[in-house]
């Protein structure tokens, strides 16, 4: 029971990190079919934002809370720039977007290396997040619970935005049927831009939170991006609940497979399981039913 409890907690913890890095990606990929390889570098930018804010403010606790909205703005601004300069011109060539944004990620990584140096920088954890708490008979660091909290707020906020606001309605309309949305008077151009900004902003938020559990270096984003894409693929595009289920599903899977083998073999098995799962459901967990032939 103890083992199951601890793996359950570990799985949820892995899942919450996965969800946080994947949720913005799920939005941009789902909305526009655009694969943004620079998403990982937006996460990295968010992490460095946390570092810079902490250098300016000094107090670790205050700076963490300040960094969250600032990083959203930084990520959003980077996203707006990328969309305006590059992605906008390539909506009809999704695979080429992948390569072009990989070029952007190379540039951003080197930029981080030149500004902050290649070694990881130190971001202090606030005193009120140090220490542990016992959940299900397992000792859990407060930082892990904080991440879970941020994820709940971010995903909940996004869900509210999509279901209750006019912007959310427009986004969902464009996902369902771009042409029909356009003929109904929705500016798909403006919707695309805003969606991209929100998705990239969420990457920035993810970066801030990741400073609590890992080191902050120029290659921070690369470590997460592949897993994030797997979550999006397994979850199916265009819906949040797919990403949520896939993230926690993969997190739990990882935790329990690790139990009987090593972490590296667990990672390998997860890929095999995802490929096998796509045999059953090629479109992922949830799909938006459309009439398009694709």
């Amino acid at each position: 029971m103890d083992v199951i409890g601890s793996q359950l907690v570990a799985g949820v913890s892995i899942g919450s990190v996965l969800l946080l890095v994947a949720i913005g990606l799920s939005l941009t990929f789902g909305q526009m079919g655009v694969i943004n390889m620079a998403h990982g570098e937006f996460i990295m930018a968010g992490a460095y934002t946390a570092y810079v804010v902490q250098q300016i403010l000094g107090d670790a606790g205050l700076s963490l809370l300040v960094a969250l909205p600032v990083a959203f703005a930084v990520g959003g601004a980077l996203g707006a720039l990328l969309e305006q300069l590059l992605v906008r011109h390539m909506y009809h060539r999704p695979l080429d977007t992948l390569l072009a944004t990989f070029g952007v990620s190379l540039v951003l990584q080197q930029l981080a290396r030149d500004i902050f140096g290649a070694p990881a920088v130190d971001v202090r954890t606030p005193s009120w997040l140090q220490g542990n708490v016992e959940v299900l008979g397992t000792v859990v660091p407060w930082t892990r619970l904080f991440i879970l909290g941020v994820v709940v707020v971010a995903v909940g906020g996004l869900a509210l935005l999509l279901t209750t606001t006019a912007l959310g309605r427009r986004i969902r309309a464009v996902v369902l049927n771009r042409q029909l949305a356009e003929t109904s008077g929705i500016s798909t151009r403006a919707t695309d831009r805003l969606t991209f900004v929100i998705g990239s902003g969420l990457a920035g938020v993810a970066g801030v939170v990741l400073t609590l559990v890992g080191s902050t270096g120029p290659t921070l984003g690369t470590g997460y991006i592949v897993d994030a894409f797997l979550v999006v693929v397994a979850g199916g595009i265009g819906q949040i609940r797919g990403a949520v289920l896939a993230a926690f599903g993969l997190g739990l899977l990882q935790a329990f497979v690790e139990l009987s083998t090593t972490a590296s073999i667990a990672k390998f098995l997860i890929l095999v399981i995802v490929v096998a799962f796509l045999q059953v459901r090629p479109q992922g967990l949830f799909t938006v039913r459309t009439r398009s032939l694709a």
């Binding site: 990989f102 390998f268 890929l271």
Partner: protein, 388 residues
């Protein structure tokens, strides 16, 4: 699409392949120092991968971000054989040195078959091809394509690297496998043998290009391009696009495997850093820059980009990353057909009659008589058109 089918005439393909063979097999060994020639040998390995990517991505539309896996399987298969052979060479235990260091001093069972040279050579080609076939059937039969395929292939390479790093005792971990002394009985420190190795790599590249040219002209080549451009129509015509794509993917995998196997004795090391997520995308960069769908674009692009990286990053280490990123963005956004399409565009402009020539409004507006305008037409314009 970029330049339609982009199939050069039989004569041009033959002439181009011949020129490539002449440059690589005759000119380069005469002109370059041993050090530079070894570098070129390494770039040739990348070019062999690029030929495969040109087939799978350029003509088949499958953006494979996982060629590192196949390159790695070929490379590690060869490296395992060389390690085992070296260990037997000095009258030793038959156990590779790093296993004595990190492992329990015994050779694991799955290493044993690689003692046989024949099995190794077979594995270098067959293992990548078989893996690609299995994966291709699983993915393409379920009509998973485009971005989904790209992401899965990338996840595959990420998982492969994690597996390699995790099994330090049997794969060398992050250090990889290195320190090879002989290649099928020939000493690797002998310059003459290293030269032979270069010729071997260059010869295989020329053969790969010839194979790619033959494929381009075949029915299968046409079917592949048709599948890239209109998969549904190919299906409606009674073909199975999944099979077409799987064959092309397996071929690209086999070429990457051979390239990996050549890379090991030429460079002297194979490690996860050579085959990870980023190197796998960098394989693509050369192909994109050279021109993905053509015959020579991938080869020249791969060699050109690798050469630029070596010479530029020697001089300005951080500059190269910016340059590579900017190059990729610029080529993909502005010149999707790569450098090859630039050549085509220039040739088109040179051979086709000048568009403005039929109506010289500029000349007329300036009040110049029409015959003067006709006389100023470029020399390469056919004479009978100037004076009908």
């Amino acid at each position: 699409m970029t330049g339609g089918l982009g199939v050069p005439s039989r004569r041009n393909a033959l002439a181009g392949t011949g020129a490539l063979a002449l440059v690589l097999l005759v000119v380069a060994p005469l002109m370059l120092s041993d050090f530079r020639l070894a570098l070129l040998g390494k770039f040739i390995c990348f070019a062999i991968v690029a030929v495969g990517i040109g087939i799978a991505w350029g003509r088949g539309g499958m953006l494979t971000l996982g060629q590192g896996v196949f390159f790695g399987i070929g490379g590690y298969a060869m490296a395992m054989h060389l390690k085992l052979a070296d260990a037997e060479l000095n009258g030793g235990s038959g156990v590779p040195d790093f296993m004595l260091l990190y492992g329990d001093g015994t050779v694991p069972g799955w290493w044993e078959p690689f003692r046989s040279p024949l099995f190794t050579l077979l594995a270098v080609v067959a293992l990548p091809a078989l893996l690609a076939t299995a994966l291709g059937l699983a993915i393409f039969k379920r009509r998973i394509k485009g971005a989904y395929f790209a992401i899965l292939s990338q996840a595959m390479v990420a998982a492969f690297v994690v597996l390699l790093v995790g099994q330090q005792q049997t794969t060398g971990g992050t250090n990889g496998l290195n320190g090879f002394r002989s290649f099928f009985g020939y000493s690797l420190s002998d310059p003459a043998n290293r030269l032979t190795l270069y010729y071997l790599a260059a010869g295989i590249l020329v053969a790969a290009v010839a194979l790619s040219a033959a494929l381009q002209r075949s029915r299968f080549g046409e079917l592949l391009v048709a599948t890239r451009d209109a998969e549904e129509r190919v299906r409606f015509l009674g073909y199975d696009p999944a099979l077409v794509k799987t064959v092309a993917f397996a071929l690209a995998a086999a070429l990457a495997g051979v390239a990996g196997a050549l890379f090991v004795p030429i460079v002297g090391i194979i490690s996860p850093a050579d085959i990870g997520v980023v190197p796998s995308i960098v394989f693509i960069v050369g192909v994109a820059v050279g021109g993905r769908a053509g015959l020579f674009g991938p080869v020249l692009g791969a060699i050109g980009v690798a050469w630029a990286e070596t010479s530029l990053s020697e001089a300005f280490p951080s500059f190269w990353s910016y340059f590579q990123g900017a190059l990729l963005i610029a080529v993909i956004a502005l010149l999707p057909g790569g450098a090859a399409s630039l050549v085509d565009r220039l040739r088109e402009r040179a051979t086709s009659p000048r568009r403005g020539a039929s109506s010289p409004p500029a000349a007329g507006a300036a009040g110049t008589p029409a015959p003067a305008a006709a006389a100023s037409t470029p020399a390469d314009r056919p004479a009978e058109e100037v004076h009908p």
